[in-house]
Amino acid sequence: MTYVIIGNGVASLGAIEGIRRVDQKGKIVIVSAEDVTTYGRPLISYLLAGKIGPERLALRGPEYYEQNNVELKLGTTVTALDTAKKTVTTDKGETVAYDRLLIATGGVPFVPPIPGVKGEDIYSFTTLAHAKTLIELSAKIKRAVVIGGGLIGLKAAESLHDRGVSVTIVELAPRILSGGFDEKAGKLAGNRLKNVGIEVNCGVTAKEIQRGKNGRVKGVLLTDGRFLECDVVVVAIGVVPASSLAKEAGVKVERGIIVDDKLMTSAKDVYAAGDVAQAKDQLTGEHRVVPIWPNAYNQGFASGRNMAGAKQPYQGGLPMNSISFYGLPTVSVGMVNPPEADKNYDVIAQLDEAKETYRKLVFHEGKLVGYVLVGDIDKAGMYTAFIKFEMKLDDKAKDELVNAGPEVFLWPPELFNQTWNPEPAKAAR
């Protein structure tokens, strides 16, 4: 049995671990355009900020691939996929046959068609190569504008600031972190950024990137008319699934590559996982692209198991983020911005600006479906349990959760016993 995995992000790592749980013998081949072994992608902001050195990037040890019988074809791009012949063709002229294929090509940064965006001095921030470029640049430049006030944008801004660059953030939505946070949480995070001197502009975006006679960037003209001088522009609006390979091969693609609950695509024995996949979202039951680190690993793991024949349905992903801003920790899990008009959602929020703490709980039909924590995050995981295990809470339990905090004793007794003190034969894993 030969497993071929395109891409070596965390989804492919999960796939290796999933396959090896079931099949210790089958050959695994990884074909990746990047020329390094799997690294912790979110670590690039730590690298850029100077908090860690490049030796800490690898997710697993140097002997890992050998120990797990994985052949690496790095620095190699797959140019074509033939689902009928079950082969992939690389840019090195090789044709590799597969019994099972996993497409884990991840996402590519989305660059909007802003006038002036083409050319030098425009950068993205999603790969190690991007980070290395920016590290080099940071020694030479004075000012940067970051377009995008989401997770990637804020991290890029913070990291550049730590390297001594003066940074301004531009965000279209009325607040930063509009995806995973709400106004109050966003404000607490924004305060920390302001305190260190990072300027944040919300409700505006770039109208035009203006260049000088030599073609180099001079600054960004905003939609509100202001002009921000800068030496470089970092575009950090988001990523879109890198699904062109699959599309060309005739695999069904919507926003991302559509996969069933075993992570298999419309093509037999072809699977997809990670940022490129449109897989089941646990909360909505719909198929969505949710480019979140744990989801990528879990999808990879599940696809690996299924490719090896374990037939294990994928539970579905949860959006979740844990990020700290200059010492202020924040956690966001699940559905945190329910539609305001919908009365079926019960939102309970408590803000303490002086202590810089915030807690928001979102309930729907007697279950916790989302939460945000800022500052006081120690019980985050315990809240996650209620979402992940979809625990039904009666009024008394919900009250206790809100007032006394999440506790294992609020779990349904059978789940509690099965988890912590099961009968020997029925132990939960």
């Binding site: 912790g40 730590y46 800490r56 690993y297 979740m320 700290s324 120690d378 315990m382 996650t384 003190n421």
Partner: protein, 148 residues
């Protein structure tokens, strides 16, 4: 693999398991020094946590799940599964203190280190002769290490 299973019906909430845990993970291996000196100086803290609600209590720690949510969430590879022993292993050096594991673990097994951007998580006392300190110390046999 042998895990530590707590029985809430006979847990008396004495917290002696937590004391045994910090002693086992201390430099001095002396309860008095561990509790009074090392906790303050080095941020030594217990991997075992007693949860209480009224008269009910139970002592919980990392379950070393077969499919750990923390390993999936870890951005630095500090948390991984050891295929030989079955433990969920934490490499302190690699950890960057992002708290993703703390967010992902639905069992509340992960805590922030009081002083550094690192986590505190049960390691099943793998290098302690006699096995987990909490199991040995419990005065009411509420913790059992067995294969289930």
């Amino acid at each position: 693999m042998k895990r530590v299973y707590p029985n809430k019906d006979v847990c008396i909430g004495c917290h002696i398991c937590e004391l045994a845990c910090i002693t086992a993970h201390s430099k001095s291996k002396d309860l008095i020094l561990a509790y009074t000196v090392e906790r303050g100086q080095n941020g030594l803290s217990s991997c075992k946590h007693v949860h209480e609600a009224g008269p009910v209590c139970v002592a919980l720690s990392c379950r070393h799940c077969d499919e750990p949510a923390c390993v999936a969430a870890c951005i630095s590879g500090a948390l991984r599964k050891d295929p030989e022993t079955g433990r969920t292993v934490y490499d302190r050096e690699k950890c960057v203190g992002c708290w993703s594991c703390l967010m992902a673990c639905p069992y509340g097994a992960i805590a922030r280190h009081p002083l550094e951007p690192k986590i505190v998580k049960c390691d099943l006392c793998h290098d302690r002769p006699g096995g987990p300190a909490c199991v040995a110390a419990c005065p009411n046999q509420a913790l059992k290490q067995e294969e289930r």
